[in-house]
């Protein structure tokens, strides 16, 4: 590949927690001498765990989008909003700029995460050398933007706390928002479980 030396070839392991450079003693219970965290050449069981989390997140993602996330009662008028209908309402009645931001955080980012992590998993498992730099960047993007998806969950919480005029008007959270919150948490864990070094490992490697 390239003449740049890799830690795994030199028998070294970089500690994630404190960035200490440690010698690979090839013991399963090896710990970093400086911070005491477990040392692994690669995150253990990265493929299996990331796949499992990704599938779990997707199973929460479907009801998160289908079920309504919020009910607004206004003068006897009951209106249930899903994530998408909430965005449309914001676009039509309020501000299109914010609607674009919410659309990005609630729809684009989660979908991007599913596709990106799926792509990274499949290409790395096949030992593909295709677009490694871009795949690395894609991973860092997913890691960086992932938590912004929590936006809609906080909006529902704020509106619920705010609009409490009893009979006349009220906002209630509906199950969709719980599923959505869980989707965000699980996809965040999934992206942390994936080991980006696998992108560069090539064909014959394991945990």
């Amino acid at each position: 590949m390239s003449e740049l030396p890799r830690a795994s070839d030199l028998g070294l392991i970089g500690c994630h927690v404190c960035r200490m450079v440690c010698r690979d003693v090839k013991a399963p219970d090896a710990a970093c001498p400086r911070c005491g965290s477990p040392l692994h050449k690669r995150k253990s069981g990265s493929y299996t765990r990331t796949w499992a989390l990704l599938i779990a997140a997707f199973m929460f993602y479907l009801p998160a989008n289908i079920l309504p996330i919020m009910r607004t009662v206004s003068l006897g008028d009951v209106d249930d909003n899903t994530i998408l209908s909430g965005i449309i309402e914001l676009w039509v009645k309020g501000s299109p700029d914010l609607a674009v931001i919410v659309f990005t955080a609630s729809i684009v980012v989660p979908v991007l995460k599913f596709f990106a992590l799926g792509l990274l998993l499949i290409s790395s498992q096949r030992g593909s050398q295709w677009a490694q730099r871009q795949r690395g960047k894609l991973y860092r993007l997913v890691e960086f933007i992932g938590y912004w998806s929590m936006l809609d969950v906080f909006v529902v919480a704020l509106l619920t706390a705010l609009v409490q005029f009893g009979f006349f008007s009220q906002v209630e959270p509906l199950p969709g928002v719980v599923f959505f919150g869980l989707t965000v948490v699980i996809t965040m864990i999934a992206s942390m479980t994936f080991d980006p070094r696998l992108i560069w490992d090539g064909r014959d490697s394991d945990d």
């Binding site: 390239s2 740049l4 030396p5 830690a7 795994s8 030199l10 028998g11 070294l12 392991i13 970089g14 994630h16 927690v17 404190c18 960035r19 200490m20 450079v21 010698r23 400086r34 911070c35 005491g36 965290s37 206004s74 914001l90 309020g94 914010l98 931001i101 919410v102 955080a105 730099r133 690395g136 960047k137 991973y139 860092r140 938590y147 912004w148 929590m150 936006l151 809609d152 969950v153 906080f154 909006v155 919480a157 704020l158 619920t160 706390a161 705010l162 609009v163 409490q164 005029f165 008007s169 959270p173 928002v177 719980v178 919150g181 869980l182 942390m192 980006p196 070094r197 992108i199 560069w200």
Partner: protein
């Protein structure tokens, strides 16, 4: 860019190396010039950056963040008015009502990412920095640093600020709304978080001397 190290003897690996966390490439450490950023030649990930904010500066930032956090939590974030009624929302108001309205999962997520974990983060940073100013390691340094690393990605105050803006606009479709001091305190907090996000707290391991706890 960086010279790749050659002919390494890994018998005793000194912290004179950088290992790219994203692709495992090894580099020799070097001093960075002012404002310089070292990137991995192989994968373009960030290796290290020159720290323009010193320990003293970080200490001031953390204290400011703590003050802003207290303000953000005692003042209402938004107030809504209808027919003379006034209702204000605070962070804890949100958490409590989500719990009561059968969205306990959301209440727990909000309490952790917007309240407890930010407190842990700021408190621990304050503790570490208070000692680091004298180039010393705070008692409990090791597990505090490990906890800080683990807590890192789970604080979401900046998302909450954006959420408050969206909530104001949405509520404005039906009611009269106004932003309160709480939201501005959150705005300040957001700025500090942005300033802090470029700082890798793991540098304290190298910065402070090893003293037996």
């Amino acid at each position: 860019m960086t010279m790749p190290s050659q002919g390494l003897k890994p018998a005793l690996a000194p912290p004179t190396l950088w290992i790219c966390e994203h692709c495992d490439t090894v580099y020799r450490r070097r001093k960075l010039a002012r404002g310089e950023v070292a990137r991995c030649v192989r994968c373009d990930a960030l290796l290290a950056r020159h720290h323009s904010i010193g320990v003293r500066g970080m200490f001031v930032l953390v204290i400011t963040a703590m003050i802003a956090f207290v303000q953000a939590n005692i003042w209402p974030i938004v107030t809504l008015g209808l027919n003379g009624h006034q209702i204000s929302a605070t962070l804890w108001g949100c958490i409590m009502i989500m719990w009561r309205e059968h969205a306990q999962v959301v209440a727990v997520i909000a309490a952790l990412t917007l309240f407890f974990l930010p407190i842990v983060k700021m408190g621990f940073l304050f503790w570490i920095l208070a000692y680091a100013r004298q180039r010393r390691r705070a008692p409990g340094f090791r597990w505090i640093m490990v906890t800080l690393y683990r807590v890192g990605p789970w604080t979401m105050s900046e998302v909450f600020v954006l959420g408050a803006l969206v909530a104001i606009v949405k509520a404005h479709m039906y009611f009269e709304v106004q932003a309160n001091p709480g939201i501005f305190a959150y705005g300040v907090l957001m700025l500090i978080i942005t300033a802090f996000s470029s700082i890798d707290v793991r540098r304290f391991w190298d910065l402070t001397e090893e003293t037996p706890a």
